[in-house]
C-alpha cells in the first residue's frame, strides 16, 4: 500500500522509542549494568531474609501454641467446628490428653468433658473454678428424647467386631451415611477373639484414621476399584449375579453421590477396645450339642457386649445404639427416626431382613430374636433347667412366639410400633438411662435366655418398654450357604452349556 502513497516516505520499522519521544519524556537516570545486577541481588537477598524472619516467627508461634494445647487437642480443630461446638451449649472443653502413649503406661485419659459451671454454681459456696480433674454431671440432662431443632443429645454407637475385616468398608460407608450430627456421636469398637492372621484391628485402625481425616471415601473407592478390577475371586462372589435387580439397584444408590452434607464429617470420639475372651469349652454335651453350643455362644457374646458397654458408656450419653457390622443398607436417618418413639418406648429395634437370590425367593427374615412372648414359651421355660437357654428357630424349643420379622408388610406404615419382649442385637437403639439402671446383656442364663433376648426381658422387668418396628426394615448382607453355592454353580454350568440364564 505504501508504494502508492506518493510523497510519504516511510523508512524501515520505526524504533519503539524514538529520539523524538525521548525529548519529551522525563529522563530516567542511567544505570550501569553491573549496578543493576548488584541491586537486584541485594533486594532479593533482603526479601529472602525477610521471608525467613516472618516464617520463623509465625512457625515458632504455631509450635508454641501446639505445645501448650497438647493437653486439649480439641482446640486444634478448625474454626468452623469450634463454632459448631460452641453452639451446642458446651462451656468449653477441658480435656486430658487422649494421645496414644505406650500401651503399658497411660494416664487416666478421660476424654473431654463439658466444663463444670452448669449445675454447681448455685451450690458453690466458694467461687474457685472446678479443677480439671473433677467432673460433674446431672443425669437429668441426659434423658433421651425425640430429636428437635435444638438437639444436643449424644449418642454412643457401639459395634462389636470379630473377624470382621471383610465387612469393614461396608460398615464405614454405613457410618458415614448416618445423617445424625456426627459431632454428637461417639463410636466405640470392641475387637475380640479374632483368628490368627485376621487383620481386623489393623484395617480398623487404618479406616478410622482415614475417617477422622476425611480421606476415607477416596480410600474405599480406590480399594473397590482395585478389588473389582483384579478379576475373578471364585464362585462365592458369583452369587451377586443372582440377587434381585431392584435390591442391587437400591444398594448402588445408597452408596453413590450425592451424599448428605455431613457425610465425611469426623465423629466426636472413636475408641477401639481390644479384649480376647478365649474359647469357651462346654462340658457334658448331649447329642443335641448344636443347640447347646448356641447357649454358650450367646453368653460369650453377651459378655463381649457388657465389656464394651461398661468401658465406653459415659455419664453424658443420652442414647446408646448397638449396631452389627454386617448390615448392608439402612436409612441414613435411622437414629432420628427411631428416637421419635422416645416418649413411649425406651428401647426400639427395626425389622431386619436379608436379600436372597432370585431362585430362592428374593428376600427372607433375618433376625428372629425380636419377638413377643407367648404362653407356650413361658410354660416351656418353667419346665427347663435354670441354665437352659431357649434359642429361637430350633425344634427343641417350640416357643410359638410371634416374631417381628414375620409380621412385616412391605407396604405397611413404617411408623407402626409393637411391644416386644425379646430383641435381636443387629440394631438396637436404647436410652442410656436403661443401661444406667443396670440393664445389660446377661452372660448367664437369665429367665432362660442370654444376651440380647435376656436384655429385652431384663429391661421389661425394670419397668421399661421395648418396641419393634415391623414395617421399617434394614437389610443384612447375604452370605450364601453351602447349599446355595451348589445351586448357583449348577445354574452356572447350565448357563454355559445352554447359553441362556433361564
Amino acid at each position: 500500500m505504501q508504494r502508492f502513497v506518493r510523497g510519504f516516505k516511510k523508512g524501515p520499522e520505526l524504533p519503539i522509542s524514538s529520539d523524538y519521544d525521548d525529548e519529551f519524556k522525563p529522563k530516567r537516570p542511567r544505570r550501569s549494568t553491573s549496578n543493576m545486577v548488584r541491586r537486584s541481588f541485594l533486594v532479593a537477598g533482603m526479601l529472602i531474609f525477610l521471608g525467613f524472619v516472618i516464617y520463623m516467627v509465625v512457625g515458632g508461634q504455631g509450635n508454641l501454641r501446639n505445645q501448650r494445647n497438647q493437653g486439649s487437642p480439641r482446640s486444634q480443630r478448625s474454626q468452623k467446628s469450634q463454632r459448631a461446638q460452641k453452639n451446642q451449649g458446651y462451656q468449653g472443653y477441658q480435656g486430658d490428653s487422649t494421645l496414644y502413649k505406650a500401651q503399658s503406661e497411660k494416664s487416666s485419659g478421660s476424654s473431654d468433658f463439658p466444663a463444670i459451671q452448669s449445675g454447681l454454681t448455685e451450690m458453690a459456696s466458694d467461687s474457685d473454678p472446678m479443677p480439671d480433674t473433677v467432673h460433674y454431671f446431672d443425669m437429668k440432662n441426659y434423658e433421651g428424647s425425640a430429636v428437635d431443632k435444638s438437639n444436643d443429645q449424644r449418642v454412643l454407637l457401639l459395634i462389636p467386631l470379630r473377624n470382621g475385616e471383610k465387612v469393614l468398608p461396608l460398615m464405614f460407608r454405613n457410618m458415614m451415611n448416618m445423617t445424625y450430627n456426627h459431632d454428637l456421636v461417639d463410636v466405640a469398637f470392641l475387637v475380640s477373639d479374632c483368628s490368627k492372621g485376621d487383620k481386623t484391628l489393623e484395617t480398623l485402625s487404618k479406616y478410622t484414621k482415614a475417617l477422622q481425616q476425611q480421606t476415607l471415601l477416596p480410600l474405599l473407592e480406590k480399594k473397590h476399584k482395585r478389588v473389582v478390577g483384579s478379576g475373578v475371586f471364585g464362585s462365592s462372589d458369583m452369587y451377586e449375579k443372582y440377587l434381585p435387580e431392584d435390591y442391587k439397584e437400591r444398594v448402588r444408590k445408597a452408596f453413590s453421590p450425592p451424599y448428605h452434607d455431613q457425610y465425611a464429617k469426623p465423629f466426636h470420639n472413636i475408641e477401639i477396645f481390644q479384649k480376647d475372651f478365649g474359647q469357651v469349652i462346654g462340658q457334658g454335651f448331649s447329642d443335641r450339642h448344636d443347640v447347646k453350643i448356641q447357649g454358650i455362644r450367646r453368653k460369650l457374646m453377651g459378655r463381649a457386649r457388657n465389656w464394651l458397654l461398661s468401658a465406653a458408656l459415659k455419664p453424658y450419653h443420652s442414647w446408646v445404639y448397638w449396631r452389627d457390622a454386617d448390615i448392608e443398607t439402612s436409612p441414613g436417618d435411622i437414629l432420628q427416626f427411631m428416637m421419635k418413639f422416645a416418649g413411649d418406648f425406651d428401647v426400639v429395634v427395626p425389622n431386619v431382613w436379608r436379600p436372597l437370590p432370585t431362585f430362592l425367593g428374593n428376600e427372607q427374615p433375618y433376625d428372629l430374636n425380636s419377638w413377643i412372648e407367648s404362653d407356650a414359651a413361658i410354660s416351656l421355660a418353667h419346665s427347663l433347667d435354670e441354665d437352659d437357654v431357649i434359642v429361637e428357630g430350633y425344634a427343641e424349643y417350640p416357643t410359638w412366639r410371634a416374631h417381628l420379622a414375620y409380621i412385616r408388610d412391605p407396604q405397611g406404615n413404617p411408623d407402626e410400633i409393637v411391644d416386644l419382649d425379646g430383641v435381636g442385637g443387629v440394631s438396637i437403639l436404647a436410652k442410656a438411662q436403661v443401661f444406667r439402671n443396670g440393664a445389660n446383656f446377661p452372660a448367664f442364663t437369665f429367665m432362660n435366655h442370654a444376651e440380647t433376648e435376656a436384655f429385652g426381658k431384663m429391661v421389661k422387668r425394670m419397668g421399661f418398654r421395648v418396641g419393634g418396628l415391623p414395617h421399617y426394615t434394614i437389610w443384612h448382607i447375604y452370605e450364601p450357604s453351602q447349599d446355595d453355592l451348589q445351586e448357583i454353580s449348577k445354574l452356572e454350568r447350565k448357563k454355559r452349556r445352554f447359553g441362556s440364564s433361564k
Binding site: S40, S110, T133, K140, L313
Partner: protein
C-alpha cells in the same frame, strides 16, 4: 531498552528488576515450603502427630484427638496391686456428707494417682447440701495450685430419678420401705458404676458414705487377698451406757451365708417379693458375718459368703465388666448388693468376706 548483552536473559528478567525479584522471592518461598520438615511446616494443620517407628499397629500416628486405642487384655487385678500400679475406682453413693468419711478417705495410704473417686447424690434437698459440702472438700484437695497429692479423677453425678424422701435412721430401716429404698439404691449404684468404669480400672471399691473409720492400708489389705468379691466387716463405735465405756457393735447384716431356712422362705415367695436380712418378720437364720468377728482372731481370715452388703466391698473390675450389677428388681428374691453377689455367682465368681477385718460406721 536493555543493553545488548542482556538480551540473552529470559524475557521476564529483561522487563525490569521488579519482576526478577518477584520470581526469586516466589522460588524462595516455594523452597521453604517444600524443604521444611513436618513438625514446623504444618503449624496450622488441625492434626499434628509424630512418627513412632516401633509401633506395629501404627496407632501412634493417629491424630491427637478423636481416636484412642485400649488393650483391655493388659488390665490386671492381682494380689500385688501396688507393684502393678493397678487403679482403684472408689464409688460412694452419698445421701449425706460426713466429714469423718472424707477424712478417712484422705488418710488412705494407697497412692492417690492410682485412685479415682465417683459419687452419686440423690435429687433431694439433702442431696443438695451434701453436694455443697462435697464440692468444697473436693476442690480443696484437687486444687491445682495446692501441693496436696491429687486423686486421678473425681466424678460427681446427680441422679435423675427421685429418691425416697427421708433418710433418717429409723425410717430407713422400716421393713416395708426397704424394697423401694434398696431398689433406688441399686439404680444409683448402677448409674454410678457403668458411667465411671473406664478402660483403666482394675478394682472397684464400694465404700458407703457413712463409713468413717478404716485402716489406712485398706486397699492394700483387701487387694492382697486377690478375690473377685471381698467384703470387710462393718461395725459401729458407740458409747455403752450400761457399762459406761466405749464399745463396738455389729452394723452391716447384709454379709451372710445362705441357710436352708432362707432357701425355704424364698421358694414360697412370689416372684416379686424380696427377702431382707435382720427383720423379725422374716427370720432366715442365716449365719451373719457380722457375728463372726473375733477380736483376737487373724484379720486375714476369709469366709465364703452368699450375700454381701455395700458398706465396704472390693470387686474386681472384670466381675462388673462381665455384667454383674445391682439388680433393682427382685432377682432370686434378692435385691441390690445381695442380688449382686447372687448374679456374680451365676457368672461363676466366688464371694468372700473378712470377718475379723473391721471398718466402722458412723453413729447417729
Amino acid at each position: 531498552m536493555l543493553p545488548l548483552k542482556y538480551r540473552r536473559l529470559p524475557r521476564l528478567f529483561r522487563s525490569g528488576p521488579v519482576n526478577f525479584i518477584v520470581v526469586i522471592g516466589a522460588l524462595v518461598i516455594l523452597g521453604f515450603y517444600l524443604l521444611s520438615t513436618d513438625t514446623t511446616s504444618k503449624a496450622n494443620s488441625p492434626y499434628k502427630y509424630r512418627k513412632v517407628d516401633n509401633d506395629p499397629f501404627d496407632f501412634a500416628q493417629a491424630p491427637g484427638d478423636h481416636i484412642t486405642h485400649y488393650d483391655l487384655n493388659k488390665l490386671t487385678s492381682t494380689s500385688d496391686s501396688l507393684k502393678h500400679k493397678e487403679r482403684v475406682l472408689i464409688l460412694t453413693p452419698m445421701a449425706k456428707f460426713h466429714q469423718g468419711y472424707w477424712d478417712n478417705l484422705l488418710k488412705l495410704s494407697y497412692p492417690r494417682d492410682l485412685l479415682e473417686l465417683g459419687f452419686i447424690l440423690p435429687r433431694t434437698k439433702e442431696g443438695d447440701e451434701a453436694l455443697r459440702s462435697l464440692e468444697k472438700v473436693v476442690k480443696r484437695v484437687q486444687n491445682p495450685k495446692s501441693k496436696t497429692p491429687k486423686f486421678s479423677g473425681v466424678t460427681i453425678l446427680r441422679q435423675d430419678t427421685d429418691a425416697v424422701e427421708s433418710q433418717a435412721e429409723k425410717d430407713r430401716h422400716a421393713f416395708k420401705a426397704q424394697k423401694k429404698r434398696r431398689s433406688q439404691m441399686a439404680t444409683a449404684r448402677n448409674s454410678l458404676l457403668f458411667t465411671t468404669l473406664g478402660p483403666f480400672t482394675s478394682w472397684v471399691l464400694w465404700l458407703d458414705a457413712d463409713v468413717v473409720e478404716s485402716p489406712t492400708s485398706l486397699i492394700e489389705d483387701l487387694t492382697a487377698h486377690n478375690k473377685a468379691i471381698l467384703a470387710a466387716n462393718c461395725w459401729q463405735r458407740f458409747y455403752d451406757d450400761e457399762k459406761k465405756e466405749n464399745s463396738i457393735r455389729p452394723y452391716d447384716y447384709n454379709n451372710w451365708v445362705e441357710s436352708d431356712e432362707g432357701l425355704r422362705i424364698a421358694s414360697q415367695l412370689d416372684d416379686d417379693e424380696i427377702i431382707v436380712e435382720g427383720y423379725a418378720d422374716m427370720a432366715t437364720f442365716r449365719p451373719l458375718m457380722a457375728h463372726f468377728y473375733d477380736a483376737n482372731g487373724d484379720p486375714n481370715v476369709e469366709m465364703q459368703l452368699d450375700g454381701v452388703g455395700g458398706t465396704c466391698l472390693l470387686v474386681k473390675s472384670e466381675v462388673h465388666r462381665d455384667g454383674a450389677m445391682f439388680p433393682n428388681f427382685p432377682f432370686y428374691h434378692l435385691i441390690e448388693t445381695e442380688g449382686f453377689s447372687k448374679m456374680a455367682k451365676r457368672l461363676g465368681y466366688e464371694v468372700f468376706g473378712l470377718p475379723n477385718y473391721l471398718v466402722y460406721h458412723y453413729n447417729e
